[in-house]
Amino acid sequence: MGNKIIMNPVTRISGFLEIQVEVEENKIIDAKCGGMLFRGFEKMLKGRPPLDAVYFTQRICGICSTAHSIGSTSALEDVLDIIPNDNDKMIRDFIHGCEIIQNHLRHYYQYSLPDYVKGVELQLTQIEMHNDYRLPENLNKELANHYLDSFRYGRLAHEMLTVLGGKAPHNHGVFVGGVTVNLDASKWIKVKSTLAEIKDFVENVMIPDVYVISEYYSDYFENGVGYRNLMTYGLFDNYKEKQLFFVEPQVFIDGEVYVLDSDKITENIQKAWFEANQIVQKPTELTVEENANKEGAYSWIKAPRYDGYVMEVGPLARMILSGNYKRGISTMDRLIARVLETKKIIEIMEQFLERMKFEPANQRIYEFPYSVKGKGLADTSRGALGHWIYVQDQEIYNYEIITPSAWNLSPEDSKGLKGAAEKALIGTTIKDMAYPVEIGRIIRSFDPCISCATHVESDRFAPMDIRIV
């Protein structure tokens, strides 16, 4: 006899997610990830001033708003044919790095750790959720204390972001052309000293902590594997110098690495609450309408695919594809790669600091061509983020966004391919059916952001002659 487990809310993530799994003889035989929030940002963006996309799209997501400022700014720069100078690029990438650090700290300590560590001190989190806490008492206590300590470092990462970007979440300083801050020695030394403090915590506390967890939960190297197809749009890859470089755009399919071809990206709405003339569409041609009552659908997340393949994106994909991580792909590898990446990002940010010049922001007045299309593809905290914009007559005519969590948390497509996290769940052994703790651990290893993944809805995209830049 099979058993069905429905988990909703999946807490300690951003947004609303429902997981349904079918279990037979303690093994997950089917899984469904449902994004449960819809706001329709792309419909809202239609008709708005193009430059407003930078501040507008950030509001898709409270935890990774900077990511959307990077995506939208890159798309607008593509439209306007602007390449920021290296100094502005470094300051902007530094701002982005602050968010990645903040996200990774928050995810590892506030979202993931309570799955493995018992009784952190906050009143809310005293409750024991299950009976699979394995750390010896002294180590458990130590890590529970680090949970509390980590609040400070996540906050400091946002403070650095604010020194250069005005405020966080929802920064102002990332803008078309580069950044708006006029960097000076006072700001520079403030972020430099703060970064050193965070680095100390990451190296001496966060990294040892993840190895403690991986030692006592080593069976999590065996589950949550998924398709083993990885993708990145590239991060810190626009510099000539090697010390500033992290990872370039690429895909890894069935054991082979290929150069990324963004024309191979499609979205499939078979099991999503959307209607359209075509089930599979390109992000530049999307025409969908929402329908919360669609038969057989179970998610507000569309299913993005690359050349028909389901791709995993995120820190593990970046760390493997950049040659910085080799152990493998699993629940625990995702946690370790995220923590190790935090250090890697900090090291590159230190290199940016060494090279930054105190020059005024390189801003100017922008005018848009009559009709123009552009795209901004960038890797962000949770992986590959794409913004596609179509500007006509000084207004946004169409806007489409595919977020990292849409790649990882997508539903089944019309070929019957399950999403990446769904696939990672299937085959997992659940030790204790009364406490199916494996589900939350595997899902959280992807760091789901459902606010992002379910932001959208596009409007009709009329055929016309378009200049593609």
Binding site: I6, N8, P9, V10, T11, R12, I13, G15, F16, M36, L37, F38, R39, G40, K43, M44, P49, L51, D52, Y55, F56, R59, C61, G62, Q110, Y111, P114, E121, L122, Q123, L124, Q126, I127, M129, F151, G154, R155, E159, L161, T162, G165, G166, K167, A168, P169, H170, H172, G173, T180, N182, K190, E290, A292, N293, A361, N362, R364, I365, Y366, G440
Partner: protein, 287 residues
């Protein structure tokens, strides 16, 4: 045979411990419960709250309130998590809502839990918790005024918590709400009851002035010296700054460890704490 005297003695220590535990628990009960309900929004206000310092979120949760429910940071998951929400409804509690209330198709566009075999919409949860709460605080512009979740053409038919609930709601707008605004409002409720509110139910202590009133670039405005583009150090009124109509103490408080704020970063105020944000505040940047 059992001697009742011995039995009673051996139970004395246990009884004392029980009394002590009960007292501790009662002391714990003196802290009012808090439900932080994420509705139709981006969950940016809870992220902002975690940036609080002096008091930080640890102090808030240890000394001020007993947080019973929040999707982003609670340990419990699934039905056990939502059970805690349900149980708290029978106690005295403050309700914080972030995010607007999507009412399209009876709330189907925001489902926050699956409880006793049924999906629970954010709309239902706001109603359930909103009716019984001692105080309701709408944190962020979406909960306060509809905000970006209700931006034209409002695909999810989102409305503010104030419009949805038929009761007094304190508004703490901002995109996101500043952690000081949130914790300060809660502190006032705990120590002195309801703070002085303006005509839109915002605490006057945070929303009594416009950004323009105390702007660090005010003297440029008064002298008619204006910036031409972002990055310039002068008044950004002609670039679309919404400071003159936006009530919030950003210029004197500043953000994230009080290190900066949007205008000091050479960008205009986009009126994110204001009633008609975003539709009435655009273009954010006017060239």
């Amino acid at each position: 045979m059992n001697c009742p005297m011995i039995q009673s003695k051996s139970n004395t220590a246990k009884k004392l411990i029980d009394i002590a535990i009960k007292e501790v628990k009662e002391d714990e009960r003196k802290k009012i419960n808090l439900i932080w309900l994420e509705a139709t929004g981006c969950a940016g206000n809870i992220i902002s709250l975690l940036n609080a310092e002096r008091p930080d979120v640890t102090y808030l949760l240890k000394e001020m309130v007993s947080l019973k429910y929040d999707n982003s940071i609670m340990v419990l998951e699934g039905q056990a998590a939502f059970q805690q929400f349900i149980d708290t409804l029978e106690t005295e509690y403050i309700l914080v809502v972030e995010g607007a209330v999507s009412i399209k198709d009876n709330g189907k566009y925001s489902v926050i839990a699956y409880y006793n075999g049924k999906p629970v919409t954010a709309m239902e949860a706001v109603r359930m918790a909103g009716e019984k709460a001692k105080y309701v605080i709408a944190v962020g512009t979406c909960a306060s005024f509809g905000g970006i979740s209700s931006a034209y053409p409002n695909p999810s038919q989102s409305i503010s918590v104030v419009d949805f609930l038929n009761r007094e709601v304190i508004r703490v707008p901002g995109c996101p709400g500043h952690p000081d605004w949130v914790i300060g409002t809660i502190a006032h409720l705990l120590a002195f009851g309801k703070p002085v509110l303006d005509e839109k139910n915002r605490p006057v202590m945070f929303y009594g002035i416009t950004v323009h009133d105390r702007c660090t670039r005010r003297s440029y405005f008064d002298q008619g010296i204006f910036a031409n583009k972002l990055g310039d150090p002068q008044c950004m009124f002609l670039l679309g700054c919404d400071g003159p109509v936006t009530k919030a103490d950003c210029p004197v408080r500043q953000w994230n460890g009080y290190v900066n704020w949007p205008i000091e970063d050479n960008t205009p105020c986009i009126g994110c704490a204001q009633e008609n944000f975003p539709d009435g505040m655009e273009p954010f940047v006017k060239y």
